[in-house]
């Protein structure tokens, strides 16, 4: 019984509720969904002791332990459960199918009869005060709120071909409010991946990283909102691409590729049609996020035209998140490798200044990087401190490979032996936000800022950087 069992339980519950909204309870679709949901609840239940799923402060708890990742993924369901005033769900031993059915009917508002089954008991336990929301509950809530907004917006665009900018801007503003207060936490949160809803999570991650980059440069909240909106909506045009093409595991043929390459203009058109304050920058970003700094990419912007600076800024975050996420057609790369790819593309695909800024912000090992130390331990980078060159990390396993209670450590780059894909070792870096001590450390570390007054000081030889740029970067990220 672990977090993945809870996720399976909640996912199937969500599916059952959806089916019951569409079909009567005795419809085969509803029956199948109910059966699967019941099976998931059986897998979650423990024969020896009660399993308690708690809901509090926009978060789920499993036997008192906060499930940060689950809280992000199932925020919508949280609202449904909270609307029915459900605070705890207790699974006592093997779940009875009738009890599960009664529970689902109550949650789905198909009955007002409070479930009284013995194997699934609602609101039997009470969360203690200790099981409180973390320091970043608001940030997490905003994150899931934006995902929810994107979900709704996606449906609207698919169904009606249009959407309203107001709710988007509001959601982005809330997220940026939270992110600006805790940029370190925002970067860590941006490592959240979803394979089922890749585009939504990718969009929010891109938004968080673009905003962090902008903040690092010294942009204000007002400057950042339209850029954040653009980053969030940059892939909205993907709604026009069939899911078969979008998730096609192999190489795309000419027609499929053509379909993919129209998503920037589809997105920009939808944003232009939506109008509203800030839509101009958002539409520009959506249109240009695959247009390269060297004039290649798509769509072609014309001779000597370069994408808008805001588009160039978002493109870097977009590619970084895309590279570090597993897709149906390629594997994920480590954050470190993603930085290398960005470096290779500096001056070619990407604006070298933006790449430099981004790497400067993210550090050699960006937040969320899973590293094996030369001494064998596994650590996850939690954040960077402006006043320290050491990597702020959380140790998660010993040299012998045994998982340990996460422990805050500071390590030097020289201690790093290897970077590992988080998912290959079953680590979800974003959950570190909820680990005791990490939140405090992140909050205590001031957000790094670029010194705007030092304009005259020169740095890297840009020409040299451009020379080293690889202009024919693989298309691995062009498709994302």
């Amino acid at each position: 019984m672990n977090e993945s069992n809870v996720q399976e339980f909640l996912k199937s519950l969500q599916a059952v509720l959806g089916q019951l909204n569409l079909y009567p309870a005795n419809h085969p679709n509803s029956q199948t969904a109910l059966h699967r949901g019941w099976e998931a609840s059986c897998r979650l239940a423990d024969s020896d002791e009660d399993v308690v799923i708690g809901l509090k402060g926009y978060a789920y708890f499993l036997n008192g332990e906060l499930l940060a990742y689950t809280s992000l993924m199932y925020a919508n369901l949280y609202h449904d459960l909270a609307a029915r005033e459900i605070e705890t769900i207790t699974l006592a031993g093997a779940t009875d199918a009738t009890d599960y059915r009664a529970f689902v009917r109550y949650v789905g508002s198909h009955t007002e009869d409070f479930p009284t089954g013995q194997s699934i008991r609602v609101n039997e336990s009470r969360l203690t005060d200790g099981e409180d929301e973390s320091a970043f509950a608001d940030l997490r809530f905003s994150y899931s709120g934006v995902v929810g907004t994107l979900r709704t917006l996606d449906h609207r665009v698919a169904r009606e071909g249009s959407f309203e900018m107001g709710p988007v801007m509001q959601a982005v503003e809330e997220l940026i409010d939270q992110a600006l207060n805790a940029s370190g936490a925002a970067l860590l949160l941006s490592t959240v991946k979803s394979h089922d809803e890749y585009t939504f999570y990718h969009s929010v991650n891109t938004c968080l990283m673009a905003v962090a980059t902008g903040q690092y440069l010294g942009l204000t909240h007002k400057d950042l909102v339209p850029i954040g909106a653009g980053a969030m909506l940059h892939d909205i045009g993907k709604v026009a691409i069939s899911s078969q093409v979008l998730n096609h595991p192999g190489r795309l043929d000419r027609e499929q590729w053509k379909e993919v390459t129209i998503h920037p203009q589809e997105g920009a058109q939808a944003i232009v049609a939506a109008g509203g304050p800030g839509h101009e920058i958002a539409a520009t970003i959506a249109l240009e996020h695959h247009a390269r700094f060297d004039g290649l990419g798509y769509p072609r912007l014309g001779t000597d035209a370069v994408p808008h600076l805001a588009s160039r800024l978002v493109a870097v975050s977009d590619v970084y998140d895309a590279i570090t996420t597993r897709r149906s057609y390629r594997r994920a790369e480590t954050p470190h490798r993603a930085l290398q790819i960005l470096l290779q593309g500096a001056g070619g695909a990407f604006d070298p200044d933006i790449v430099k800024t981004f790497i400067s912000l993210m550090g050699i090992f960006p937040p969320g990087s899973v590293l094996r130390l030369l001494s064998g331990e596994l650590v996850v980078i939690s954040h960077h401190r402006a006043d320290s060159e050491e990597l702020q990390a959380v140790m998660v396993s010993t040299a012998a490979g045994e998982s340990i209670e996460p422990e805050l450590v500071a390590v030097s780059v020289d201690q790093v032996a290897q970077q590992i894909l988080a998912e290959s070792v079953g680590i979800e870096p974003a959950t570190l936000l909820e680990q005791a001590g990490v939140a405090e450390q992140i909050l205590a570390s001031s957000a790094p800022r670029v010194d705007e007054g030092a304009i005259e000081r020169s740095g890297i030889d840009e020409e040299a950087l451009k020379d080293q740029a690889t202009r024919s970067l693989s298309s691995i990220f062009e498709r994302d």
């Binding site: 304050p277 600076l309 400067s360």
Partner: protein, 657 residues
Amino acid sequence: MSGSGARMADPIEIFDALGIGWGVHELYPDPVRQTAFVSAVNRLSVLQDSSITYEVGAATISCEGEELAIERGGTARLSLRLFVHEIEWIELIGQPSAEDLNQLFKLLAADEHSTRNEGGITAALQAGNVWSIQVTQRGLLAEAIEQPWEEREAEHESDAGDGGPRASRLARMVTSGASAHEVAEAMLEESAGDPQQIADTFCEAYRAVYPAVEQTGVNTESVPELLAVYRHTPKTRPPVDTFAEAFFLIPVDARARILSDFLANRTEGLHSLLLDQFAGLELAELAPHLNEETFKELVGYARDVVDSESGSADELLPLVSAARDVKVARRSAADRIREMIEGIGGLGGATGGLAGRLRKETADADGLGRHVLRLLMEVEERPDHFARFVESWCRRISSAVAAGELDSALALLDAGTNGELSISKQRTIEAGLVELLRSDYAVFNQAAHDPANRAALGELLAGFGELAASHLMERLTMEEDPATRRILIGLLVVVGSHHSKPIVRFFKAPEWYVVRNAVTIAGKVGGDHWVPHLKPLIEHADHRVVVEALRALTPLAPDEAVPGLVKSLAHENERVRETSLLLLKASTSPVRQSELARALTDRSMDGARTEIAELLFELGTPESLQVLRQIAHKALLLSSTRRDARRAAREALRSTA
């Protein structure tokens, strides 16, 4: 290559097929279903009933002692991956199935440490019932060591017996499985800390071990058979690993001397075997301690083993040949990024400037809006989508007009129309704008009611194109409210200054009032181009059109208008006559006098002669008065026309008198 019937298999082709398979595996989550993967497996069919063994080295793959030319791409990456997993030998026995190959690739793709911790690739392949692929990993040979080295040394000595090689104490320690620490301690002890002695002891011990190993038959010919023994009964770790580790436990001066010795003999396999254990960085750390000659040797060695001097981190990996060194090489990639960041540290200006540039570029939201519109107009090549986009763009123009933001509307219009678009796109845009005018006419009409808006609105509508101008003209024909008609005419005056054709077309309309309105607009717009179209209208059947045409034409073409004006003095309609008389009086055309003089005796001008004479008299020029006097003093006139002219002339002259 070994085994019977394998002579037909080309090692390069086989490895190439493996490389293709690896490339497909890297790209696709389900590679066995990919055609390229299946094709690669099929290429391995030459191995049926035979086997092939490859030796994996630093940046090299060898078969039967011959190094294969590894191209870049899948084969190079596979070679690297095999190397990263510390695989020494890989053997294909018979044709591996697609699933077997996939299992191998999965293991290679996995984290090398995890794989090794779980028992290694060989164990995993066997657990997966894969027998067609056998591998030997370096590290694993060392992991089953449980006995202390002393016990193993005893075994070794007993095995060696009287006829065994004479090896030094250190060599025996190494071959018996002593740890690197133990070996290093012994070296330091026996050499009393003297760097040269330590180095000599190390080199002698190393050379003592390797001939001994060679005598047991470990060579490329017999490797597969020997490896089978190693796989199942690993006894000790490879001595070279112990030497390599011990190397780092002795003083740096001694290390430099050892390196000097080994580099000088690096062309010999046994020496390069040790050198290959070191990472580039480790060797580089020793560089300052080397004399010039040895340093040159080091550089030569580095060039031999590295693909390119400016290689990426991945290309640098072949420089190393042990798992520890791979880690270090990875760190070197981190170092590169760190250097970059250190460079950025002094780059506050460039990045600080970015914020300012970003603010500046985003400040003009309208400009950005036009930019994106323009781009979208250019890049959208799907007709239906383009039409939809035009529709939404038109709605935005309408919204701006409704909000009284005519400048924004104009800018929006400009963004969509001011550029090089294909003819078909231009047509779609024009059609969209006309449709907008039709659907949102009330919006434009409302805006036009404010006199302050009219000029800008007219410009906007002019920007809609000829079709829109035609539509406005049609609107004008249907408009019953005189006030609105006036407004429309006002707008069309502006539109007409850009598009005359749609207005000229209405000169031939059957309804007199339509023609008259079109003529009014033409007159207000002005311009020579109207004249040829207006002149015929002086002969229009409806006097109201004629009046308007005279009014319009006179200021546009004063000389050309005069004949018509003079002729209209005899028009049957009084308003026409009055109008032409007034216009002639006001005219300053030099042809007026001659035309009037000619008309005075023109038969067709009956009924207008009095006015003509008066006009001539009013001109008051010596010539005009002379004309009047001449005809007034004619005594005998036969034609009634001339008599009538004399009468008119006399009356004109008399009235003045």
